[in-house]
Amino acid sequence: MDINVVAQLNSFLAAFVLLTAFGMLVQRRMYGLVHLFAWQGLFLSINTAIVGFVAGKHHLYISSLLTLSLKVFLLPYILHVLIQRLKVHKEVEVVENVPMTMLMGIALVIFSYYLMSPVTQLSTLVTRSTLAVALATVMIGLLMMITRKHAVTQIIGFLAMENGLFFAATSATYGMPLVVELGVALDILIAAFIFGIFFFHIHTTFDSLDVDQMARLKEED
């Protein structure tokens, strides 16, 4: 494959990762969010495989497969089951002022481009231009955790942040060592189980997954 074509494919996938990040930022429905998260994982996984091919680093294939199985199938499945068990699948979250959130997202993209442009100029990798997109994905995940009130949504925002970090690692240094990536994958998996348990606890205590309710958390006098 021509290196130019690879670079173009890479930037295409980066654009789609960014698009799904924005989609998650404004999506109201729970299942829609989970599906968008799965799509983002798929784009990441394809991108990792392509980078692995062009850089000749075979361990990236393994991390691509890991991303595919974990972030496209397993985590969305766990979230699906959780949403069903907690009976929140019909809940439509109130998102305040969607256009404003979008504008903030755009501002974050511009900020990360500004922040990353000196790094990009120093780098010689094919994937250097996607670094800004990776940082923007992390930032948008953070913005999502700040603007949303629902516990499940906040966790998805957290996972989207992790996606962005993974993407940054791939585009900045052609991926982390395999041991680190395996460790991170395992961490994510365990985190998924832990937040599942937490959801149930929050749900039984407050009868809702709205984290605003936790402001009422006081000792009885």
């Binding site: 173009q8 654009a15 979008m102 993209v109």
Partner: protein, 314 residues
């Protein structure tokens, strides 16, 4: 054999006037089929126009010159816009004097006068329609310019003919910015031409109508001109999208064989776009008007992302 540039220009305007109702008829026919109804045929819009032209104009007592002048102005701007967008050939004499920004301004003038005419008689529906139309316009126009600018960034020119030249020279393959701009353009075109998630083109006397509410007081040849201009606007947005995103087939010179081929390509593209449009329209429900800010906001977001990804990724 080469055709004179002015003949091409006249030919193009004739095609615009002639084919636009057929395209609207095609869309309506597909829509009927998709809903399991019997359609009135692809030529029904021509019959409607003929009928309206033969009827008398009924004017309200307090109608001012704006009300009488608007149909001609709307029709005239649509024809002028048709002379700017390359449909058959890139060698258009008027196109070299006017670029995309002029095009957007032409549509804006037509919209401005339609809104004024809607308020002119003083009925409640007209004012409501004008207010809604201007709300949509204020959100759609920046997004539209943004989407077009994204394409013109790649070709370093706002002239449509120049953009098509650059796409032909093959420098713009697989660009994420173009994909974003295309998505944004589709959303804006749906809003600007009053198609389903934004406005229902088939509705009359309904509280949700937008464009129809403004032209409710028109009758006779005035209504015919406005309806015809509306059909041309839909046709022109398709042509604008084709010229900016998929121009393959448009002739580069005035060669008569190339122009005939361009015409066939144009018809083919119209058929395809009609099918896609009907698929969008039958798949979606009309949106609440207060959700429109989100719809057009996401169009703006996509256009801005396209522009940013031009700088970041390319």
């Amino acid at each position: 054999m080469k055709l004179y540039r002015f003949i091409i220009e006249i030919l193009q305007i004739a095609i615009l006037l002639g084919v636009a109702p057929a395209f609207t008829g095609w869309v309506r026919m597909l829509k009927c089929w998709s809903q399991g109804r019997t359609s009135a045929g692809i030529f029904q819009p021509y019959r409607d126009l003929l009928k309206l032209f033969s009827k008398d104009v009924l004017l309200a007592d307090n109608a001012s010159w704006i009300f009488r002048f608007t149909p001609y102005l709307v029709f005239g701007t649509a024809v002028l816009a048709g002379a700017i967008i390359p449909m058959l050939s890139l060698e258009l004499p008027i196109a070299s004097t006017a670029d995309v920004i002029v095009l957007v301004a032409l549509f804006a003038i037509a919209r401005f006068f339609t809104a004024l005419a809607g308020m002119d008689i003083g009925t409640a529906f007209g004012g409501m329609g004008s207010s809604r139309e201007m709300t949509i316009a204020s959100l759609a126009e920046p997004a539209m310019l943004m989407a077009i600018f994204t394409v013109s960034l790649a070709s370093k020119s706002t002239s449509l003919s120049q953009m098509v030249h650059v796409i032909y020279s093959g420098q713009t393959v697989l660009r994420p910015s173009i994909v974003f701009a295309l998505l944004a353009f589709v959303l804006i075109a749906l809003a600007e031409t009053g198609r389903i998630p934004v406005d229902n083109p088939a509705t009359h006397l309904e509280l949700t109508m937008i464009h129809e509410a403004m032209i409710l007081e028109y009758s006779g040849r005035h209504l015919a001109l406005i309806e015809w201009a509306g059909m041309m606007k839909l046709f022109l947005f398709v042509m604008l999208g084709v010229a900016a995103f998929a121009p393959w087939g448009i002739a580069e010179s005035g060669d008569i064989v190339a122009i005939s081929a361009a015409f066939i390509f144009m018809v083919l593209k119209l058929v395809i776009v009609g099918i896609v449009l009907v698929m969008i329209e039958t798949g979606l429900a009309k949106m609440r008007i207060f959700r429109l800010t989100e719809f057009l906001g996401s169009a703006f977001l996509l256009a801005t992302l396209g522009m940013l990804s031009y700088f970041i990724l390319e």
